[in-house]
Point group: C2
Amino acid sequence: MLHVSERGQLLPPSPYRQLTPYAEAARRRGLVVHPLNIGQPDIETPPQMLAAVQQADIRVLDYGPTAGLDSYRRVLADYYQQQGLAVTADDIIVTTGGSEAIMFALLACLNPDDEFIVPEPFYGPYQGFAIATDTRLVPVSSYLENEFALPPIADFEAKITARTRAILLCNPNNPTGYVYSRTELEQLRDLCLRHNLYLLADEAYREFCYDAPFVSALELPGAEQHVVLLDTISKRYSACGARIGALVTKNQTLREAVFKLAQLRVCPPGLGQLLAQAAAELPTDYFAHTQAEYQARRDLMVARLQAMPGVQCPRPGGAFYVLCQLPVDDAARFARWLLEEFELRGETLLVSPAAGFYATAELGRQQLRLAYVVHQDIINRSMDCLAAALKQYPGRQE
Amino acid sequence: MLHVSERGQLLPPSPYRQLTPYAEAARRRGLVVHPLNIGQPDIETPPQMLAAVQQADIRVLDYGPTAGLDSYRRVLADYYQQQGLAVTADDIIVTTGGSEAIMFALLACLNPDDEFIVPEPFYGPYQGFAIATDTRLVPVSSYLENEFALPPIADFEAKITARTRAILLCNPNNPTGYVYSRTELEQLRDLCLRHNLYLLADEAYREFCYDAPFVSALELPGAEQHVVLLDTISKRYSACGARIGALVTKNQTLREAVFKLAQLRVCPPGLGQLLAQAAAELPTDYFAHTQAEYQARRDLMVARLQAMPGVQCPRPGGAFYVLCQLPVDDAARFARWLLEEFELRGETLLVSPAAGFYATAELGRQQLRLAYVVHQDIINRSMDCLAAALKQYPGRQE
């Protein structure tokens, strides 16, 4: 009998998509199911960027350079420089989405059985990336009561072993929306310098900060050799399907190892790079517009959630998620009940139960992640559903 | 001091690109350098396929399904069915290039330290994929004297250990151009059934067979649960930059594991899939045209090589490479000499020394791989260069 590998067996299914079959069944019954479960922006991909692909004169869609098109790397370096980051084109390896940047960073920084520490709740696939790369994700818990702020450095230190090689931080955070302060980042930097760790900074949501300026890990003085930026255009330009990301580091030795990994897949997607490169043509106020729209959505969703009896919802400073605590026995059971047993005027909700974002058992069991990537009218209708559902749900707990 | 991982250190640089700096220097000196080193087809990407992307009505370039667009999977299943293969859309997971299919197959079929057996010479990056996935590539030698035919099954059996999980076969072969016969494939199938191994079939060049019909591993009766097809549109449609491949298997358990790996990167490139899907609109004689062109190039290159004193060159049945033996001390030294010290009427050659395609030390040291992905006029000029160079090269050996 043929066997699937242990990693193939151990990999968890996506925490975002487990409820999809129930949502499809609800839609077949005629319900409108509002999708708040995944971070797929509804904001249109900038037409200038699509036009750059659609008007390109291509005779042979050939392999490009392994590290990405030189022209695109220069555009991307300009983008970082406009943010005050001392990044040059040479520091950049263009990747196939942010996911490939995560994979490359883990493969190049960690040996099998090495450990990396991540504040939990965390982006669910990190656990899968650890399994695929044969490395160990070690969680340090952050708590809703504390708005999911950075856990005390002592909690990180308590988890450090001889096998610890890196801290992985998603900032702004998915799933919590928390934006780490300069002070918190400096504490982490000092920890990494003290224990000789890489600081893997997943900044997929770097352009979505609503209350305070974003601080990138690349800004931290003294950490240049430690910081590995994991980036993507997916959220920044509503271009998830382009599969264009980047790994950025001033650490040349590490970059050379990543380059050899990148050679295995020859080059990142060519058409997506043409699209990404045209970001240079966007008006300078492009992000101001998208930020204003997401901020209004956040304010609306948080206000609605905070008005529901028994719901606890910190006000996230960034990304486009809220992680809230509900007065229910089990958020996964509640999420399924929403799709199977509930409706309000022919509508219901698809949400992500938060347990899939935690490595520690039992944490987050009453929590949901909601993505505000839909129009404000849909947010209102969704919150109407949620408020009504929380009154009717038989597993309600105070 | 921060360290790069062991896999990061062990990864070999690409055997295709090591001479690139010397080629660039030669070009800066004003030489025309004919690129016969990599398999980048010069044949144009079908305009119908590019038009499908360029005329698509896209508002949000969003995440697609993890296994690929349903519409594209159906088109791809139709393609296989036209070849007589019983493939349905459900059997297909669309990948980001053939490279991702290789990575997924190794991760899903093999545990760390497990082994897979590959006839050598082999596609150079296989060794890197083994390192990245912490698996072991075990070579079984094939020989130029035997036209690089499948090594005797006894040679495979001699390499099988308790850790062997798969045979990886590239058919038509890169770098040798050898096309495996039905009898050879059946022998391999029997071996896989007997020893409970996966048969990973890299058929990137499946449409480039010149002397006999191609036999796919998917045609082998009784091996349905064992065969994993690794495919790509890169060569088939001159669309290397699209980064669209596929992993195809009837083994549902394995496919579910691959699907979980695929969920980590959410989806394959969206624009590339639109392009790939439009292959359905190509005229039915599309491959006849491209095959005729490549076959004429092969015939020309092989005839020219065989006419050079001391050169041994089997006549490859497929792909677009020849692997030939030269009367030189060291093919790598010769290749560098071509770029640094040789010219004929202002022209020279960029080639791939074959040592990078072997795992066994010393094998292939006098061999070169030449890709016939350039116009016949360039092939003639390149062969003029090679013939002259072999006369002048100080390290010539009879």
